[in-house]
């Protein structure tokens, strides 16, 4: 009983503290609508973060072993984000609150919370997708040895993302960024008994760290040239035409984009994401949908005005669009050869992130974020569907699946909706978001984007084909034909299918938020920013492009169905369609992982490390060794002085004392009468002295 009350009292104490904090908070930017709703929005990241600690300390004793608390945190973020989204749509919200948390010289570190269109979209997305994934995870993780710990890390993961998106400055963004990084490491390596999973966790963490160097360098250049870590301040300086910022803007933008490439798994930093499949499926679902990989897109979106200005970081846009283009097409191809269903979806995510990045590079802020939004729903749906299948057949490999549509109807139908949304079938959400991206790239190509944009346009249309093709393959191999595995497949419990249905609904209908020429709720939503977003926004559908892309998608689906749909004796025969020269390249992931291993990591760990060790031992250590030797000599001299002079003094004094004592002690004979006589003699002497004086 007391254990159950403890979290409540902590919670109340937090509320009281929060009230005090609120008292010292100051408004940085007055909103269109303010009020308690936005002033208390700091709770959105704080609640899941605090719940993480509550789960760590009290989770095992709580009724749902931590699941309830974690899910409550997500539900809270979802509801709060939803209310904010509603108010934002009706009235518009622009708010930035902050409290000072530290002062270092002239630099004031602030903990803040931005409440504008972009961050509200992320609060809502992380909350809703997180909530559904957490609910699902209750069923999926049942019986796990580290069940409570899993939900603590999971809550930290989502909480870190909320810290990231609420950040009004680069410092807090980095804090959130690293929280997401470290919790992703914990979650990917959740089954650490198997060393491969630890490797995957390390790979994700290390790859991100390499890219994070770009983020840190970018933040430092930004702060030095703009004089602030604050986004609003940076934009103000930019508006005022700060020359220093203009001078270093390209490098700041490029370095920050490298950071974004790492988290958003853009080529060539994409290697960690497919390996991150080692984590439990709910982790993959959240990581690929609302959290972590969206951070890079979010960062570019947050700094979008900066990337839009030709005199600042505008020159990076061709780099962004080309990186996005390469990622969306070539990483999509890798999904064709994967046998692990989660790897298919992982490469699909990398490819879709490429679309988002390309959209950002094309100057289409809304299109990129809209795809992020819709993708979050259908990709988490696909992952949870895959998780449901894996849960049923106890294998990740599609060669162990087949014919599951009869065994798992709910999973099958929701998976099909997710697939339709992913490949971009009318009228599912993916159709609207992906078409808007392709249209935006086309617009950019036609309006000064140059050859790079035309090239990426072709890649993005090719990417649509590839996406449809590998999804046709995955669906065929998983749900059609006859069952090839050994376990007895069964439909997953309600706790897992209900989130699937929820996400499928989102994946199906959220396209309606932004139908070009019909509705533009989403555009209004995310362009509600303190600094105006100078983006191109399509007023109507680009019919010629739709007329190209949709048939391509349908053809790809049909070809994929024809090639992989028919049932054969063995799975190897079903999946035997290969292009001889291309297959080995794809199967080896373009040798990029091998290149990193043999070209960078091993040489670094071998000759370079040895050389560094030699320099360390012989050059760097020489200085301390020299200093140490000199110190030993000085100490020797000091020791001699100490032994002869200082000790000599004390020895002499103590020897003198000893000798005197030895002489005086002779008076102590032990004879009582002698003492008595002496003391009487003393009395006589005193009496005599009295008489005389």
């Amino acid at each position: 009983m007391l254990a159950a009350l403890a979290p409540i009292s902590t919670w109340l104490a937090l509320l009281a503290e929060g009230a005090e904090e609120h008292g010292t908070a100051h408004e940085v930017h007055a909103g269109v609508t303010g009020g308690a709703l936005v002033e208390w929005a700091w709770l959105i990241p704080v609640v899941p973060m605090l719940l993480t600690f509550l789960i760590v300390f009290f989770g095992k004793k709580s009724p749902w072993k931590g699941w309830g608390m974690a899910t409550f945190g997500m539900a809270f973020a979802a509801v709060y984000g939803g209310v904010l989204a509603w108010v934002n749509l009706t009235d518009g919200i622009l708010y930035e609150g902050a409290i000072d948390v530290g002062i270092i010289g002239d630099l004031t570190l602030q903990w803040g919370w931005v409440v504008d269109g972009l961050s509200i979209m992320m609060y809502f997305l992380v909350g809703v997708v997180g909530f559904l994934v957490f609910v699902y995870a209750n069923g999926y993780m049942k019986g796990d040895v580290r069940y409570t710990w899993f939900f603590a890390s999971f809550s930290l993961f989502a909480g870190g993302m909320l810290v990231l998106v609420s950040a009004p400055n680069l410092i807090q963004l980095i804090v959130g960024w690293e929280l997401v990084g470290v919790s992703s490491y914990l979650l990917i390596a959740h089954y650490w008994e198997d060393f491969d999973n630890v490797d995957a966790g390390n790979k994700a963490f290390m790859t991100n760290k390499v890219a994070d160097a770009g983020l840190f360098i970018g933040a430092i250049i930004m702060a030095l040239s703009a004089g602030s870590f604050q986004f609003s301040e940076i934009f103000e300086r930019m508006n005022a035409g700060e020359t220093m910022l203009a001078q270093f803007g390209f490098w700041a933008g490029l370095a920050l984009f490298i950071g974004a490439m790492g988290k958003s798994a853009q080529f060539p930093f994409h290697v960690w994401l497919p390996d991150a499949m080692a984590g439990p499926t709910p982790v993959s679902a959240l990581m690929h949908a609302a959290t972590m990989v969206t951070a890079g897109i979010y960062l570019v979106g947050r700094l979008f005005p900066f990337y839009q200005m030709p005199e600042f970081a505008g020159n990076i846009k061709p780099i962004i669009i080309v990186i996005g283009g390469i990622t969306l097409f070539f990483m999509g191809l890798l999904a064709l050869v994967a046998d692990d269903i989660k790897k298919v979806l992982a490469y699909s995510t990398v490819s879709q992130l490429g679309y988002m990045m390309a959209a950002m590079g094309a100057g289409a802020y809304t299109a990129g974020l809209f795809h992020l939004f819709t993708h979050a729903f259908f990709k988490s749906l696909l992952f949870l569907g895959a998780g449901s299948v894996i849960h049923a057949v106890h294998s990740n490999n599609m060669s162990d699946m087949g014919g599951l549509r009869k065994h798992m109807p709910a999973t099958f139908w929701t998976f099909l909706i997710g697939t339709g949304a992913l490949v971009g079938l009318f009228p599912l959400s993916g159709f609207w978001s992906k078409d808007e991206i392709i249209a935006s790239i086309h617009y950019d190509a036609a309006h000064g984007g140059g050859a790079a944009a035309w090239f990426v346009l072709i890649l993005s249309i090719g990417g649509a084909f590839v996406t449809a093709f590998y999804m046709a393959r995955a669906v065929s191999l998983t749900f059609f034909g006859t069952y090839k595995g050994h376990a007895h497949p069964h439909e997953s419990p309600k706790m897992m299918t209900i989130p699937l249905i929820g996400l499928a609904t989102g994946a199906a209908v959220f396209g309606a938020l932004n139908m070009p020429g019909v509705t533009q709720y989403f555009t209004d939503w995310v362009t509600m920013r303190a600094f105006p977003i100078a983006e191109h926004h399509a007023e109507s559908l680009n019919w010629p492009l739709v007329a190209i892309v949709t048939p391509i998608v349908l053809v790809a689906l049909y070809v994929g169905w024809r090639l992989f749909g028919p049932d054969k004796e063995t799975q190897a025969e079903r999946d035997s369609f290969t292009i001889p020269s291309l297959y080995p390249v794809l199967a080896n992931k373009y040798y990029i992982d091998d290149f990193y291993m043999d070209g960078i990591i091993r040489p670094t760990m071998g000759p370079v490390a040895d050389g560094t060790l030699w320099i360390d031992m012989n050059v760097v250590d020489a200085v301390p060794n020299l200093a140490g030797g000199a110190a030993v000599h000085v100490a020797g001299a000091v020791n001699t002085v100490d032994l002869t002079t200082v000790d000599g003094l004390y020895n002499t004094v103590s020897a003198g004392t000893g000798a005197t004592g030895g002489f005086l002690r002779k008076a102590f004979t032990g004879k009582v009468q002698q003492y008595a006589a002496l003391s009487f003699a003393g009395v006589v002497v005193i009496a005599a002295l009295f008489m005389i004086f």
């Binding site: 002779k666 102590f668 004979t669 032990g670 009582v672 009487f680």
Partner: protein, 101 residues
């Protein structure tokens, strides 16, 4: 009767007692001599009390206390000597030199 006679008596008793304390070997006799010294002090106190005509009889009061204390002291002294005798089979003060350097 003058005070001098009593003072002479007290001085004589004190001297005899002191002599005993310093020369006797037997601890019991040393203790007895010590009592003699105390008695000499009592004589002096009473003599001065009468001589000075103190209305409160302070000297005699202190004498009473001294007698009581002397009795207690003898009790403890004898007990100590008995214990020493039991342990060492001797009450010779010359042999009690364990406190020697």
């Amino acid at each position: 009767m003058t005070i001098v006679q009593f003072l002479l008596l007290g001085a004589a008793m004190f001297s005899i007692g002191l002599y005993g304390v310093l020369t006797r070997r037997n601890a019991v006799l040393v203790l007895a001599s010590l009592e003699l010294m105390l008695a000499a002090v009592n004589v002096n106190l009473v003599a001065f009390d009468i001589y000075l005509g103190d209305a409160l009889r302070t000297g005699q009061m202190i004498t009473l206390f001294l007698i009581a204390i002397a009795a207690a002291e003898v009790g403890i002294g004898i007990a100590i000597i008995l214990m020493i005798f039991r342990n060492r089979q001797s009450a010779d003060v010359d042999e009690l030199d364990t406190m020697r350097y």
